[in-house]
Symmetry: D2
Subunit: 321 residues, 4 copies
C-alpha cells in the first residue's frame, strides 16, 4: 500500500491509458462485447465436447449469508404464500383446488454474482463512451445493464485457475497477478489465451467465504486479483478481451499496491475500454472439473437480468464443455 | 368456462394421469431436466449455425410496468448511490477519487420471466416426487428453484410460433391449442418436434402487454394457451419434454374450458411429470428472426438465479442460432 | 385551471411572501413547531374533558389498498414467521417451547398518514431556513423528519369540519376554501381558532377512497383544499399556526386555480414559514364525534417515526377530548 | 441458567397462571388496554404540569445501526427523488417548478421501538383470548397490532429508573429485578405505583447499544429485566397494569434463571393477561429529566402504526410532563 506518499487521482494515473470511446458509435452501451460477433459465437460452439454443464452463480438469499462488498447486504427472500396459508384457511381458492407457494425478494443489484453495467464506475464526470456522469442520477440513463442483458454474452471462455497454478487453495489477502501470470497459467494448463476469449479467473476467494468466519473474511478486506499496469491495460486492448469473470467481489486487487489508487482497473478496463466485468462467480466446481479432464476452454453463455436503468444485475452464467 | 356444472377437484381430474415420481430417485428435485443428459446437450450444440444470439427475458423493473399475474406487482429498482451524491459532497471517498453508482431492487420471484420450482404448485398435500406439501412453508425445503438453478437448462430448443401459424399478431383471450396443433405448427414451419426438445411456444400475448392499456390486458384475464387432455399429458410424457417455455404468464389457458379447473397443466405436467415451466418469455424478436431465416431450432441455455428455497427465480434465457 | 396563460414560477408567485428563515436560529429544523412552547402545551391539557381518545392514521399495508399520491404505492407487509413454520417443523426452538410470529414491511415514507419534513418541497435551490437544496441528495441532511420526530407535536387541536359545514359527505373534486372559510366554519361550530392552534381540517376526501372505485378516486385527481392567496399566508403567519392536518393527500387544492401553480402552499407555508404539514389523516370518526358532542377542541399529540434523514415519516396522531 | 436440568414447557410452567381470556368478550383484541377507560385518561391529564414533551422512539433506519433482536436487521431508508434528479434533468415537472424529495423504507415491524400485538407470542396452539394460533399464519387475523393502534394508549405513566435506583449507568447482562424491586424503586423516587399505571422501566440497556461495539452488545446477549414468578404475575393482575414499556429489546430477562424458559413473561403477561408490551424505548433523556425535576409521573400517549394484520408496529411514544 502507498503509505507516506501522495495517492494520485485516477484521472492522472490513467491520462495516457487507451480508450475505446466512439469506436462502436456514439450510442454504444456494450463496449467490448461488440467483439463477440456471430462468427466468434459460432466458432465458440466448437468448444463443446462432452456436453457437461456448469452454472457459475453463488447461492443467493442464502440463510447462511451471501458474499458481498462491505456495506452492501445479502439478498432476502420471504414467502408470501405456502401450504401454511391453506392449513389456516387463508389460501386463495382456485377452481379445482390447486395450491401454490409464492415469494418476494430484496437485493442489491450488485449483491450476488453479477455483471457491472459499463456506467457503474467512473471518474472526471464521464462514464463509458463519454456520457455525462450526471446521467447516472436516479438510474443509469446511459450504459445501464439493460444493454448488456439485451445482447447477452456468448463466446469462448477459458478458465485460468490461478489458485491451482500457484498450488494454493486460495490466493492470499492482497496477492496480485498480472497478464503475464495469466499467460503462464494458461500455458501450464496446456492452453493458450486467444483474442476475444472470455477470461474466467479463479482465485479460490469466494470459496473461502463459505469456509471461514465472517470476521476473518471481511477483517482485512483486500482481495487478491489483477493489478494495474499500463502494459496490462494494453494487453487487454490488443487481445480485445470482451469480458473478465472472477471469483472475487471486485475483479482486481482492492488497492493498487503501486499507486495506492482503489480499483483502478474498473476505470482502465471498464470505463475506458468497455471491458465488461463479472464478479462473485462460483468457480470451485468448474475448477475441479477442468483439473480432472484437462479441458479448460468451453462455451460460455451468460445474460444478466434485464433490469431497466440498473447499475448491474445478477446473473447465473452457464458453461458448456 | 364450466358454468352451471360442478368443477371437479384437480386430484379427481388427474387421478389416472401419469407420474414420474421416484423415477430419478427419492431425492430428485429437477424432474424432467434429467432428460437433458450430456449427450443431449452435446448434440444440441449442432443447432448452432450463424452464431446469432437472442435473450428471452422481458424488461424488469420497467418504469412503464412489468407483466405479472394479477395480485403480484412488478419489480422496483431504486438508486442508492450515484453522481448526485458526489455533487452533494456525500459520496464515499475512494483513494484516487473513483465514483460509482449502486442500486437496490425488490421483486416477486415469479414477477418477471422466470422458472417455476417443481414445488411451486400442487394438490392433495404432495408436491413433485411426493414430498410433503408442508415442506413449502416458509420456503421450499424440497424441489426449490435452487436445484434447477444449480443444474442449468441446456438443450435443443424449438420455436413453435402459434401466433404466426394462425396468422395473428396475438392469440385471442382464452384461445386454446393442443399438442396436435403444436405438431402441425412445427410441420408448417418445416420442422419436427423431437424427443427431449425444449418447447418454446409463442402466442404474442406478452407483446400485447406493451401495446394495449392495462385495463385491456388485465380486464378479462384468461390467457391463451395449451389446454388439458389426457392425450396431451401422455404426449409430453412419451416425448420426454424437459421444459415448456411460453410468452404467457402461466404457460397454459388460465381455465380449462372443459372441466373448469384452473391451471390443470401445472399439476399434470409439473407436479406429476416434473416438466419445468418457464413463463413470461419475450419471444417476439426471436419469432421475427425465425420467420425471416427459416431456422426454428437452436441451442437453448438458461439458468435461473440460485435463490435458496425459492418458489421460482427470474431468468434471462439465451438462444444461440 | 390556468388554461391558455403562462403559469408563473413559484418563486415569482411568492416573491413577496413572508419567511421565518433564521427566526429560530441558523440551525433550526422544526420551524413553527417552536410556537408549541411548554406553556402552550400545558394550557392545551385543559382541553381534555371526558377522556375520549381518537387515533388519526389510516390503515396501513391494507390488503384492500392504501390511499397514496399517484406514482407511489401502498405499504406491503409480509409474514416471515408464524404458526405455519412450527407446523412444518421449521420454527426456531426456544427453551420452553414458546412460538412467535414476525413480519416485514416496505413502504414509501410519504405513503400513509404522515408528517412532511420541512425539507420535503422547495424551489430556487433552497429548502426551509435557507439550507442548500443539494442537502436533500441521498437523504435530507438538513430539516429531515428526524427533528420533528425528536421534538413531537403536542398542543391544542381544533377540528374544522369543512364537509359538514358545507353540508356534504365529501367536498368536490377541486373544491377550494380559504382561511376566511375556516373561520366561518369554526364560528358555525361554536368555536374560535386561537393563535398557535393545530388546525385539523376535514374534507371527507380520504373517506371517499374507501367508498368509490380506484378509477373514480384517481381518475380526475384534483383534491379539494385550501387555496393560495397572500392574505391566507399572512393569516397563517399572524396566527402562528404550527401544524396543518388534513384528510387529503397533499393538504391543499392540487393546482392553484388562479395561477396554475401546483401545490404553492407547500412552499408558502412549509418552505417559507416552517408550518408542518400532516397529510392523509383519518378524520371521519373524529368528525362524527365532534358533531355529536359539540366539542371541537382537544389535546392533539403526534410524533412521526424517527427516520434518520427521512423526507417524512408515518404517524398515528392521537386526539384526547 | 438452568444447566443440567430439564427445562419445563412454558405451558407446564404457567399451568396455574391467571388468564383474562373472555373478560372483555370473545372478540377482544386489546386486552388490558381496556383498563384505560375515559375516566382513567381524563385523570391522567392531571399529571401534566410544566408542558415538557419527550419522545421515546430510538432513531430508525440509522446509518449507524438500529438495536434489534438477533436475527432481525435494522430498517433501511433509500431516497427515490431529490435535488440530484433535477440537476440531472430527471425530476418530474410540476407547473410552477416546485421540486421535492421522496424516500422508501424497508423494516421489520418489530425492528424499532414497537408495540407487540397481543398475538405476537404464544404456546399450546392458542394466542391471547384463546384464538387459534393458526390464525397467525400469513398475518394475524386476530389480536393483530391494528386493534391496539386503532384504540391508542393514553394514561398515567410512571418512570421506574432501575438503573439510577441501583446507581448504575446500565444494568448488567442478565441482571434481574422483581415487582417488589419496582415498588422499592418507586418509593425511592418519592412516588407510588398506582393501579392502571403504565409502567416505564429504564435499565440503560438501549443506551449501551450506542456506546459499545456491536460485538460487546450482542456478544453475550442476555438482557437484564423483570424475572418470572407467580407472585409477579399476580401483582400485574391485581394492579391491572395495562402496558409495560422498557428500554430493552424483549421487556424481560431473556432467559428465566430459575426455570431456564425463554421469555416466559411474554406468555404470562401478554398471552394470558393481555398486558401490552412496548420494547426498545429510548428512556435516557426522560430519565435524566425526571432525576432533575423529581417528577416521575406524566401523561403517556402512544399509538403504533395501524398496520393491518401486523405482529407489531413501530411507535414513537409521547410523554407530557
Amino acid at each position: 500500500m502507498a503509505d507516506a506518499k501522495v495517492v494520485p487521482q485516477v484521472g492522472e494515473l490513467l491520462k495516457n491509458s487507451p480508450k475505446n470511446w466512439g469506436k462502436w458509435g456514439p450510442d454504444d452501451e456494450v463496449g467490448s462485447l461488440n467483439y463477440l460477433t456471430p462468427e466468434v459465437v459460432a466458432k465458440a460452439a466448437g468448444s463443446i465436447r462432452s456436453g457437461k454443464v456448469f452454472t457459475l452463480q453463488v447461492k443467493m438469499a442464502n440463510p447462511e449469508g451471501d458474499p458481498v462488498w462491505p456495506g452492501r447486504s445479502g439478498a432476502v427472500r420471504i414467502n408470501v404464500m405456502d401450504e401454511g396459508h391453506y392449513i389456516a384457511g387463508k389460501g386463495p381458492h382456485f377452481e379445482g383446488g390447486a395450491h401454490y407457494a409464492d415469494d418476494f425478494m430484496t437485493c442489491f443489484l450488485q449483491g450476488s454474482t453479477q455483471y457491472d453495467a459499463l456506467g457503474h464506475v467512473w471518474y472526471d464526470d464521464q462514464i463509458w463512451n463519454g456520457y455525462d456522469s450526471k446521467s447516472t442520477i436516479g438510474g443509469l440513463a446511459k450504459a445501464s445493464i439493460l444493454a448488456i442483458a439485451e445482447r447477452g454474452v456468448v463466446g469462448r471462455g477459458i478458465l485460468l485457475d490461478m489458485a491451482r497454478y500457484r498450488k494454493k487453495d486460495v490466493l492470499d489477502v492482497a496477492e496480485t497477478f498480472t497478464h503475464e501470470d495469466l499467460q503462464a497459467c494458461a500455458k501450464a494448463q496446456g492452453t493458450e489465451i486467444q483474442p476475444r476469449d472470455i477470461l474466467v479467473i479463479r482465485t479460490g476467494w469466494i470459496g473461502k467465504f463459505y469456509k471461514v468466519s465472517r470476521e476473518e473474511f471481511y477483517g482485512n478486506f483486500v482481495e487478491p486479483g489483477l493489478t494495474y499496469s499500463p502494459a496490462l491495460v494494453q494487453w487487454f486492448h490488443d487481445m480485445e478481451i470482451p469480458n473478465l469473470v472472477t471469483d472475487t467481489i471486485a475483479n482486481e486487487v482492492t488497492v493498487d499496491p503501486v499507486s495506492g489508487v482503489v480499483l483502478p482497473l474498473h476505470n482502465a478496463l471498464m470505463r475506458n475500454l468497455g471491458v465488461t466485468l463479472t464478479e462473485i462467480a462460483w468457480l470451485d466446481d468448474l475448477g475441479a472439473d477442468c483439473a480432472a479432464d484437462g479441458q479448460y476452454t468451453f462455451l460460455y453463455a451468460a445474460a444478466p437480468l434485464k433490469v431497466v436503468n440498473g447499475t448491474g444485475a445478477p446473473v447465473n452464467p452457464i458453461v458448456v464443455k
